[in-house]
Amino acid sequence: MHLMVEMIRSSILSATPVLLAGLGGAYTFHANVFNIAMEGMMLIGAFTAVAGSYFSGSWIIGVFSGIAGGLVAALVFAIFVVSLKTDEFVTGTALNMLALGGTTYSLRQLFHVKGAFMSHAIQSMPRWNIPLISGIPHVGPILSGHPFIVYVSILLAFVVEWHIFGTRYGLRLRAVGEDARAVDSVGVSSDRIKAQAIIASGVLCGLAGAYLSLGYVTLFSENMSNGRGWIALAVIILTRGRPMGLLLMSLVFGFFDGLGLSLQGTMIPPQFTQMVPYIATIVALYFYSREKHAAREGE
């Protein structure tokens, strides 16, 4: 029982960054922007969050600097893709490299370390004990005592679902994805909506980064996003950008990520347990393709 509780707890913890980035990516997915830059936005957010928290001594400022980092990366992406009309794939890849190079460079430039930066001066996010739930046996330990962004991200899943599928703005966003020229022809600027979608994804990826470096662990290490932005992209494709599906699928991936951690210390070499989430992504993609294929043949 204890192991079970531990595993579900760690699933929730590992699911959060994928969920947050995925929710951000849902905006660009529906606006038909191929956002491969999420990985980089997350990495930049993780770095600026640590820097903000370290220099100000406040986790709140840390979280906001994380968001700001993602936002700035998104602005660069938006300027290139929307205003200068550069290719999304090309720009996104370059931005990922800029994020990797820029954070590695700044790590040495600001903190004079290579590889990873740890310090007691980095203030991490508080963990929330939910007053009523924490008393319930079995359920309490699973749901209570997480970094507060975990709860924010679950709430955000519902907000984003409502925003994209329940509001006039969401309708316009999806219309831009369907046919941008049609939206332009009725006097709504599709470019502006695309830029807004990119900025939304930047903010949420920045938040995901802040969670990684101030909530999940309290440090910054080179390339610490470690493919989570790409897994988020895969999850978006698998769920066709539905926030509720994202919530579920990111928990599934969190479970496999956590499974890898729980299997450590068994006979299986740790390198194989660390592969689990990436293999799970390929397997999930296989089932998705098979289903899509079957549906097409059935028509």
């Binding site: 990797l100 040495r108 895969a234 296989y286």
Partner: protein, 360 residues
């Protein structure tokens, strides 16, 4: 090709100026740093040879990405294919001991085959199950990373060492170094020549380019898209695998050390992107990037700018060149449209005058 040169030059100059501004803003002596950057990469025999050494993997990963992207295969698996190529050559070089005349060509074949196998997985999944190769290749990178880490810290670990690395390969598999010039560079040049001819002059090269421009057109035109796709993926993987293999065969280490891939594979992706998948441009940008990377070490020595600055500079170069390419194209299109409009307006006016004349 000529149309691309001007925007590329503008982009590079602006990016280098932006780099200058970054250095200046952080209180480093900018001009002195740049002088060190170029003198430590170009202006001595030793510096030039180390630039060529660094260019070797970059040319190959760049070609790998250019072949992939140019034929519409989004192979982002260069990091994994690179590692698998390197580990396969290491294993082969440890297990087999033959004279160099046999060992070197065989090792090259092993590297090509291992890289092709790894990209072949993604190609197979795409052909058989229609799975997007860009996600599968990305995921396979992580799998290759952990798999090689497992091999070098377990089955292939050199027991005499305290950090994860393999024993050295047998000396037969070592590429000679002549007076400081690493002959691995010649292998890369040979690969470049073969791929360029294949890409620009052969039938399958034509099919790849057609597929890269427009897959529907190429199928309608009678190209065998399925087999062309498979071969492009295999060649792309083989080139990245060769880049990894040469890391073991060339240089001085001759063993697989943790982190051997560094950033070569992603640099290759950027090189192909900035070269717009053109083969000659890929080779040139690979040399340019290796100048930046080699020189960055000298810059750190002279003006203590962290050598990671080269990573930032590379990404800025890519962004600015791409932006300048697009905006010059837009500018040229706008000017052309403006000229056409003026000419049309002039003609209208002329016709109007004529009518007046006839009325009169």
């Amino acid at each position: 090709m000529k149309k691309q040169v001007l925007p590329a030059l503008i982009g590079i100059v602006v990016a280098l100026l932006a780099g200058l501004a970054i250095l200046w803003a952080q209180g480093y002596p900018p001009l002195q740093s740049y002088a060190a950057l170029f003198s430590y990469s170009l202006f001595s025999k030793f510096a030039f040879f180390s630039t060529l050494d660094k260019a070797t993997p970059l040319i190959l990963t760049g070609l790998s990405a250019a072949v992939g992207f140019g034929s519409n295969c989004v192979n982002l698996g260069q990091p994994g294919q690179f590692l698998i190529g390197a580990i396969a050559v290491t294993a082969f070089g440890i297990a087999v001991d033959l004279p160099a005349g046999l060992m070197i060509p065989l090792s090259i074949l092993v590297a090509l085959a291992a890289g092709a196998c790894w990209s072949g997985i993604a190609a197979g999944l795409r052909r058989r199950f229609k799975m997007d190769e860009f996600i599968t290749t990305l995921m396979l990178n992580f799998i290759a990373d952990y798999f090689t880490l497992y091999l070098i810290s377990g089955p292939m670990l050199d027991r005499r060492m305290y950090s994860p690395l393999t024993p050295m390969t047998n000396p037969g598999a070592w590429l000679p170094i002549w007076n400081g010039f690493g002959s691995a560079f010649l292998v890369a040049i040979a690969a470049f020549a073969v791929v360029s001819v294949l890409w620009n002059r052969s039938k399958i090269g034509y099919e790849w380019r057609a597929m890269g421009q427009n897959p529907i057109f190429s199928r309608t035109g009678g190209c065998r898209n399925d087999s062309a796709y498979l071969w492009a993926m295999l060649l792309s993987g083989a080139l990245a695998g060769l880049a990894g293999g040469l890391m073991i065969m060339g240089g001085m280490q001759h063993r697989f050390v943790k982190g051997i891939g560094a950033n070569y594979a992603w640099d290759g992706v950027m090189i192909a992107i900035v070269a717009n998948n053109n083969m000659v441009a890929t080779g040139l940008y690979a040399l340019f990037f290796s100048v930046l990377q080699t020189g960055a070490m000298g810059m750190e020595l002279e003006t203590s700018v962290p050598s990671e600055f080269s990573l930032v500079l590379q990404a800025i170069v890519v962004l600015f060149v791409v932006a300048s390419r697009e905006s010059t194209r837009m500018l040229i299109n706008n000017i052309a449209a403006e000229l056409r409009m003026r000419r049309a307006r002039g003609r209208d006016k002329g016709m109007g005058d004529g009518r007046h004349a006839s009325n009169g």
